[in-house]
Symmetry: none
Subunit: 411 residues, 2 copies
């Protein structure tokens, strides 16, 4: 009987055939003997994460794969990123992520990342705890120029635009409401006040004085985006009766794990970049499987490489994933391994797309799973798999089913 | 043109690969030349009866296959079982099934089946027609220790727990409401009163006095369960303009047929057990096809055998079904034969599971049906069938479609 689960999500793994790769996708072009060996003993299929004809973001895709319907559970990227920074959200909080950037006196943006400033903790400390009209601002540093912001107070709304216009050389955007509720209007007004008050604080901050003395751009404005109101979600463990941990390099993915109450496991060398140490991650997966029922492991770089239009780099990175996957070809009989992606990223477009992704359910014991005739793990081979075409919300019920954890409907 | 329909449901036919069967499912391991011959001339597919990732009960599965959505049409097993005893339900009735059991003076259950008493008709007669606070109790015998109960009156609710705790050596459960409505509260109160009054009647019943004299356990308490409020459903004949009959051994399946207004055909030797006379059932199917447009035939034991973890028994019983299916390999050109299961039962778990079941649509004439390349009737072969992955609610529309009975949507 299957009892333990590894869910491996390779970000942006799916793709479209690329002329320069002989009209193969990067995954098809990559030599993947280990993934193919697993697929040959698995039930395979294609997954339309958010449903056919929907292009998933990484945040919505992951929530969906974990069984949290986005129409009920998704309220913007801010709350997820902020959870990934280790901040504890409360129901009703509005959370945003942001960059420290450089603006001139007229609030025109000179640099969205303040010359890629590396350490913003002294700046967030100066802003953390500010109160505007009864709303408390919690401000914590992210990596490099990034920060997380929580607005905590009554009567807030996540229906607001970004202050960050996402391009330089234009003014900071005045935050406005995206619906007609008084809550959204009030939230926008308070956030605007806060950003201007924060600008005053940052302008005078000694760290910026020092930076200017050294000829560096001052980090004098907090460009926030991705605002969303946190709704308390049932934690993964409670929802599925499975203890769970998250092994990821990228902040967003740690954020998703934290958001759902998984324990976040830091792995030295797991960077979320092409140089990441995948073997170290998979070794940690096998270790943590002793402690946890469910281990989520995320591998990022295939997505970033295709967003750069680098299909060869993507193909090579996939071969690196495959090499590390040798560690997963000898699992115990009680272990279920699910391998998939959150979405496809079309290297030709340098963007996410709605093409489905391959998925396999592999059982270490070789029994219990309806192994099909698919012998290669890629987009077109898996189209003939026994699972057929599934959606992201089908993944966890099938995990529960195989583990004997579904409730009977009827009698 | 197809005009007549046989729907054969083999209960719990689907399964998972079993190590001891060479990682084949019992259906795959069974030699099924007749079913395979039919499949080779059929359009096949896989059915997720209640939708992917839902584990069907037998009651909900059958309602769904017959085109009755359970969110609108299912209100517990009680009403279906009671209909199967031949009782006529009225809208608003609360129906329950139950056992005659043995309790001590403190209402602690000694035996849930009163020593498997074989004949309870004198006991049900003593209780039938009792009135409690204006609610009439209709009590009729089922097979052996079983009975059916209808509560008839105004302002009742099916939102109540079972009085049967499903285990011995604990007290009878006091019935409570599962929602906050006054109707549920009242129904629970009246049912509790009835059960205690019935207990008094049963204690003094001559049949029990006689049993005790013979050293047998008295059948002195009616342990009810599966309560549900009957909602009048459009009968099958009216819904589909097809006269229909039901050939089944098990009470629940006769109940489903009766519930939907099908004529119930009793076949001597149809027991619902592994010793059932499948040939007699299939011969009756062919006979009744002269009289009826639609013949539903149910074969039970594959389910029970896998619930016992007896995969070899299941495989052998499937071979018995197949042998009898020789009778169905020479159907008239106007006959559509649909063969499927209500759900899979995983022998490894001894429980129903959400894995899909094979389904085939076979036309006696060899025409009209888009025969696909599937040449074996089993879980994995049918995954490659022309129907793809369907749900239970797709079955009857496809039957109607093949019979030319679907209405045009639009013009």
């Amino acid at each position: 009987m299957l009892k333990k689960v590894i869910l491996m999500v390779c970000d942006g793994l799916g793709d479209r055939p690329v002329k320069e790769l002989g009209n193969l996708t990067p995954l098809e072009a990559a030599k993947t003997p280990n993934l193919d060996k697993l697929a040959a003993k698995a039930e395979c299929g294609l997954m339309h994460t958010l449903g056919r004809g929907k292009t998933p973001g990484s945040d919505t895709a992951h929530l969906t794969i974990f069984g949290y319907p986005i129409d009920q559970c998704y309220s913007g990227r801010g709350p997820i990123e902020v959870a990934g920074l280790g901040l504890k959200l409360q129901g009703g909080d509005v959370a945003l992520r942001g960059n420290f950037g450089t603006v001139g006196d007229n609030l025109i943006i000179k640099d969205r990342r303040a010359g890629r400033i590396l350490e913003v903790e002294p700046l967030t400390r100066a802003l953390d705890g500010m109160d505007v009209d009864g709303v408390k601002f919690i401000v914590k540093p992210g990596t490099a120029h990034r920060a997380g912001v929580i607005m905590r107070g009554k009567g807030l709304s996540g229906a607001i635009v970004d202050a960050d216009p996402h391009v330089p050389d234009v003014p900071v955007r005045t935050v406005t409401a995206t619906d007609d509720t008084p809550e959204a209007k009030r939230t926008a007004d308070i956030l605007n006040k806060f950003l201007l008050q924060a600008h005053e604080v940052l302008k005078k901050h000694p760290l910026n004085a020092e930076r200017e003395k050294d000829g560096k751009l001052p980090a004098n404005f907090l460009l926030v985006r991705g605002g969303g109101q946190y709704k308390e979600l049932v934690h993964f463990k409670k929802k599925y009766d499975l203890t769970a941990c998250c092994i990821a390099g990228g902040g967003l993915y740690k954020g998703v794990g934290a958001f759902l109450g998984m324990d976040i496991i830091d792995v030295p060398g797991a960077t979320g970049l092409p140089d990441t140490d995948i073997e170290a991650k998979f070794k940690t997966v096998l270790q943590k499987l002793q402690e946890y029922d469910f281990v989520f492991v995320h591998v990022k770089a295939a997505d970033s490489l295709s967003e750069d239009g680098n299909w060869e780099g993507k193909r090579d990175f996939i071969e690196k994933i495959d090499a590390a996957a040798a560690l997963l070809t000898d699992l115990s009989a009680e272990t279920l391994l699910v391998v998939t992606a959150d979405h496809s990223t079309a290297s030709e477009m340098k963007a996410h797309c709605a093409d489905p992704v391959p998925i396999m359910f592999y059982g270490g014991g070789g029994e219990s799973i309806r192994i099909d005739n698919v012998t290669a793990f890629n987009e077109r081979a898996c189209a003939a798999g026994g699972l057929g075409h599934i959606v992201g919300l089908d993944v966890m019920p099938q995990v529960q089913n195989l583990l004997g954890k579904l409730h009977l409907v009827g009698a």
